[in-house]
Symmetry: C2
Subunit: 208 residues, 2 copies
């Protein structure tokens, strides 16, 4: 619908190549599970159903593939929280969790890839962390402007704690089945988490 668009959808080069999308998805899935160094390009190509050489065609190298996946995941996280930071109050954090659940159901491996990226210090991982921290700082600032922050609170550390709260479940997820019998992102866990979170953030949980 923009200008006089050519008939057969020219589309971006990324979209016209099925193999490229398959490689991105396969790389995201396998890197998330076993780390960057833990997976070979042949396995990724097999998982994607394409040949080994196609990695070079589209991404140049293994590092190029990682960079492309990093970019993709970073974009998703940006979009995920684009709306959340406009809200405020402890309930908004619950909303953030709901949005994250939507995201996970849509793009299963992206969250676990982000988890891995934060662990291995790759070029893209610093950008990922900075983005998450930036989102939480904005959330704190929004709350402060609306008078929802308790007086005297260290805003920087409030933001850092929100980062912990966002990262925490993702880090713990691989151990959750064994430790709790269910996923951190299962319905009962999310409900209990939100209840605790709202309470702890507004009143704490220990007596002074």
């Amino acid at each position: 619908m923009t200008t006089k668009a050519k008939q057969k959808s020219p589309a971006l080069p990324e979209d016209t190549a099925p193999g490229r999308r398959q490689l991105l998805a396969a790389g995201m899935k396998l890197f998330a599970k076993r780390g960057f160094a833990g997976v070979g390009l042949r396995e990724i190509a097999a998982e994607a159903g394409v040949s080994l050489g196609l990695v070079r065609t589209h991404f140049g190298s293994k590092d190029g593939l990682r960079a492309a996946i990093d970019e993709h995941v970073l974009d998703e996280i940006k979009h995920l929280y684009a709306t959340v930071i406009e809200h405020s109050g402890a309930e908004a954090l619950g909303m953030a969790v709901e949005d994250a659940l939507d995201w996970i159901s849509r793009d299963q491996d992206a969250l676990m890839y982000a988890r891995m990226a934060l662990m291995e210090k790759s070029p893209g991982s610093q950008a990922l962390f900075d983005e998450i921290l930036s989102i939480m700082r904005q959330f704190v600032d929004t709350n402060a402007k609306r008078g929802l922050l308790q007086p005297g609170v260290d805003r920087e550390w409030a933001a850092i704690y929100l980062v912990f709260d966002f990262i925490g479940p993702a880090i713990v997820e691989p151990f959750a089945k064994s430790a709790f019998g269910k996923s951190m992102y299962s319905e009962p866990m999310i409900a209990a988490r939100n209840a605790f979170m709202v309470r702890a953030f507004t009143r704490g949980f220990l007596k002074g």
Copy 2:
């Protein structure tokens, strides 16, 4: 001082082999930095100042080396918190941080190795997570028995949140220099963290 101990300190076989200790230390350091699959045995042996073959002598395989390091780090964490769980109240968490600082200064790479172990789901990592969770559950129970827990608090999620608080700084550490200009375990960061933590845990930081 036990029984009639032989003269020249028979010691455990682990202690009599300098190469073994060197390999453990080198493996811990390099695995922590680049992950299990990201480091080769030759590099570890070189860092340890021993030959490649010695890994096989002492640990049998690369996985054997990891298992030995896992065990070592798990023991350290157990000892670290053996005293902490006897204390209670929000201040005890500050004490825990102080103890962790001591630990870090003594065994620099152990914390970052634990961080890596939690990320890569190895056989030992589940045990590590279970231990940390267990410690936090005990802390919550101790507080509950002494009436320091606010009424109606979800104890399980309180423990989980304490896990986040313990893991969080370690996860963030590699990005801290760039994002905050200092280590998460530097003096000013620790001080600000403790202040925020005591406040947030007892009163929260958002208005209801």
